[in-house]
């Protein structure tokens, strides 16, 4: 029997809803030498364990009763950053769900085991996975920090050896290049791989790179080819769906995601995309069906979001089922009560009241949303939803203020601007008016930023600091302003000597920037400046 090296140090978490399987696995793992072992029966217990303990290996059954499955759980863990990238996630599957598990999504497990398996097979595979875990640890650390530049550099170091992990490294490097907006380099890398072997992930990677290089037609063609060859390749459906939706073909996008749903039950992200597209394309009954089924299936599961209930509620409103829409919101409130979620639910409630002709209650609900907290704590989507509701109820001034805030906090986000444009059009503005409003708003924030920079260039550092500081309080999510606010203080410290209060302020801006965008170009500039200070 193969003995896995140093396994007695490794923490392992087993998740299986079947008592028989749990005791089998416990017995098998303990007899193989695993001492640090936790065995749980549900996602809820698993999350409690994961919150307090670091695990080297998570062993999860795909089928966890009627609720959230192992794949959806993994997606949730990765999206919410609840496990390190270096934690090995192994999916256990029976033959019935095998096809669904291997239908590779963006969020694939590190390995999967087909039942029944022997202890010897499991140990031998785990030994290889642990070897891999050590090999990739530096890359995974960079990935956890979302430091794509670092990830790429770590990959390059290891790629030189051209060892057995060569293709895995290329896969990781390609994905990091895309996330780091280095599409040209990604394209070259993927083409090299494809020339060696036309692997599915390399083709999809190439399609992603092409899309990023504004070659949408080529990307679409390639994605369609991939799906003809590999109709089970779920990540390709998701990519193609997104591409079509972005190019304006929402019906086409919906059709693609529905096709994907016929093959595998789908990750929550895909279900969300699909429902939103169905509402947008005037087919609320599809959104209702899909989201209702999903929420019933995932009752009490942490993978649900308040937004999911809002989408279902809106799908019902669009069909005139306002009483049902209000029930959905009531139901959601049992699980979601914090202020960002309150906004989403209250806005949806307002829309339901309005649709049922109850203007007074519509206003009450909207007021609830507007007073749920500080504007800067709300997501762009929440701001847009509130603005939409304000327009509908004739509160134009509030509506514009909310849109302003959304744009000025993200003034270089094109997708957001398109959404704002859509809200303005829906409120009755014509296209020219909408564009002008967005441009004025953007120009204002650019002017503010430039004024700060000009002050700095002219040597008026204290004015620059004051101006950008004030701007960053008003627009705490605007990364450009945040970065420049840190930069001018750093410059001041270099010129006029250290001052602890200023340094602390500078570091706090830098911290916020890193938290919001770990790869922001300004961080390197700030750090260069701060290094001068040290020497």
């Amino acid at each position: 029997m193969a003995i896995v090296s140093n396994i007695s140090d490794k923490w392992i978490l087993v998740i299986d809803d079947m008592e028989g399987m749990r005791s089998q696995l416990r017995m098998s793992l303990s007899s193989s030498g695993f001492a640090k072992l936790h065995v749980v029966s549900s996602i809820k217990e698993a999350l409690e364990r994961l919150a307090t303990n670091h695990y080297d290996v998570v062993l999860c059954d795909y089928s966890l009763g009627d609720s959230t499955n192992g794949q959806q759980f993994l997606e949730y863990l990765r999206t919410a950053d609840l496990i390190n990238r270096n934690t090995i996630f192994v999916m256990i599957t029976a033959e019935q769900s095998y096809a669904k598990v291997v239908a590779a999504s963006d969020c694939a497990p590190d390995d999967y085991l087909l039942k029944p398996f022997t202890a010897a097979e499991f140990n031998a595979r785990l030994e290889k996975l642990l070897e891999r875990q050590t090999y990739f640890s530096a890359i995974d650390r960079a990935s956890d920090k979302k430091n794509w530049g670092r990830m790429i550099a770590e990959c390059d170091t290891l790629l030189a050896a051209r060892d057995k992990f060569f293709f895995d490294l290329c896969k990781i490097k390609g994905a990091a290049l895309i996330r780091n907006n280095q599409a040209q380099l990604a394209e070259t890398l993927y083409r090299e791989i494809i020339a060696m072997r036309p692997l599915g992930w390399a083709k999809l990677g190439l399609a992603r790179a092409l899309a990023q290089l504004d070659k949408a037609a080529e990307a679409e063609q390639l994605a369609k080819e991939i799906l003809v060859e590999m109709p089970q390749f779920m990540a390709a459906y998701d990519f193609l769906g997104k591409l079509l939706a972005e190019s304006g073909d929402k019906k086409g996008a919906l059709a693609i995601l529905q096709k994907a749903r016929d093959i595998a039950p789908g990750t929550m992200n895909r279900i969300r995309e699909l429902s939103a597209l169905a509402v947008h394309t005037g087919q609320p009954e599809i959104a209702e069906k899909v989201m209702r089924e999903t929420l019933i299936q995932h009752k009490h599961s942490p993978v649900r979001q308040a937004d999911d209930y809002a989408v279902l509620s809106r799908a019902l409103i669009h069909q005139g089922k306002t009483a049902e829409a209000l029930n959905v919101i009531q139901d959601a409130r049992k699980s979601f009560s914090d202020s960002p979620n309150n906004v989403i639910l209250a806005v949806t409630e307002s829309a339901a009241h309005l649709a049922s002709g109850n203007h007074k209650l519509a206003h009450v609900s909207l007021e609830k949303a507007l007073s749920a907290g500080e504007l800067c704590n709300f997501s762009a989507n929440a701001l847009l939803a509130m603005s939409e509701a304000c327009f509908t109820l004739g509160r134009e001034e509030d509506a514009t203020r909310l849109l302003n805030h959304a744009i000025q906090n993200n003034h270089d986000d094109v997708t957001l601007k398109n959404k704002v444009h859509a809200v303005l059009i829906a409120s009755g503005k014509d296209a020219a008016e909408a564009t002008a409003l967005i441009e004025t708003c953007t120009a204002e924030v650019i002017a503010l930023n430039n004024e700060g920079v000009q002050h700095a260039q002219a040597g008026n550092l204290s004015e620059a600091i004051a101006l950008l500081g004030k701007a960053s309080v008003r627009l705490p999510n605007n990364l450009q302003i945040l970065g420049n606010a840190a930069l001018v203080i750093a410059l001041d410290l270099v010129r006029n000597g250290k001052e602890s209060a200023k340094l602390a302020q500078c570091l706090s801006y830098r911290e916020s920037l890193i938290k919001k965008s770990p790869n922001h170009a300004k961080i390197a500039q700030i750090d260069t400046m701060l290094k001068q200070l040290k020497s």
Binding site: P116, K128, L199
Partner: protein
């Protein structure tokens, strides 16, 4: 095959797997454990094979790691057989669906261990742009009825389920395609025993 058949097969498969695990825990019943495990595996394969189209997910695989894992599993089930792994003539990375080829080759390896006198060898190498995965044993070799003239597998189910295993291996190999090439399997006998070969593009 209907849903009821599937459900019953699935249940029996699970019971056999549990039996195998209990026999393993006793520590003195490796032959019995192997019988239960193989029966459970066979049902798994049937259930998988019953599905209309096989989902093939080709990626890079290190042949030494792959064969060593397979060898470790069968070494436990056949403690009296020595299983050797030979990969010096294979590149660091080869390309196939790890899980499916594991099923197919596992079957062949099981057979080889069953009929071998004392020794089985797993070899990976490349020849004429094909990857060859070979299972050689020192047993009596394949019966003449199983070795067809062109080396491809027979589709009839024969004794001890061998035919079913070959049918599955054949289907899995064939699902591996590259340009105009498809994978296939070959059975041979030589002076020392039986040779099962899987050739993949």
């Amino acid at each position: 095959m209907n849903d009821l058949h599937d459900a019953v097969m699935h249940d029996v498969k699970n019971q056999l797997a549990e039996l195998a695990l209990r026999l393993r825990a006793r520590g003195d019943a490796s032959v019995e454990m192997d019988i239960a495990m193989s029966a459970s595996r066979r049902l798994t394969e049937m259930l998988l094979l019953g599905r209309a189209d096989l989902c093939v997910n080709i990626d890079s695989v290190n042949p030494a790691d792959f064969l060593n894992i397979l060898a470790a599993e069968y070494a436990e089930r056949f403690p009296n057989i020595t299983i050797r792994v030979e990969t010096v003539r294979a590149p660091e990375s080869v390309f196939f669906d790890d899980a499916l080829i594991r099923l197919a080759l596992g079957n062949a390896l099981h057979n080889a261990c069953h009929y071998a006198k004392s020794c089985v060898q797993l070899t990976a190498f490349e020849q004429d742009n094909m990857l060859i995965l070979e299972v050689c044993d020192d047993g009596p070799g394949f019966p003449a009825s199983q070795i067809s003239s062109d080396g491809t597998a027979p589709s009839a189910v024969s004794r001890t389920g061998t035919g079913l295993g070959l049918h599955l291996a054949h289907k899995i190999a064939g699902a591996h395609r590259l340009n105009d090439h498809r994978g296939y399997i070959q059975l041979h006998n030589d002076e020392s025993g039986g040779i099962f070969r899987m050739l993949l593009p």
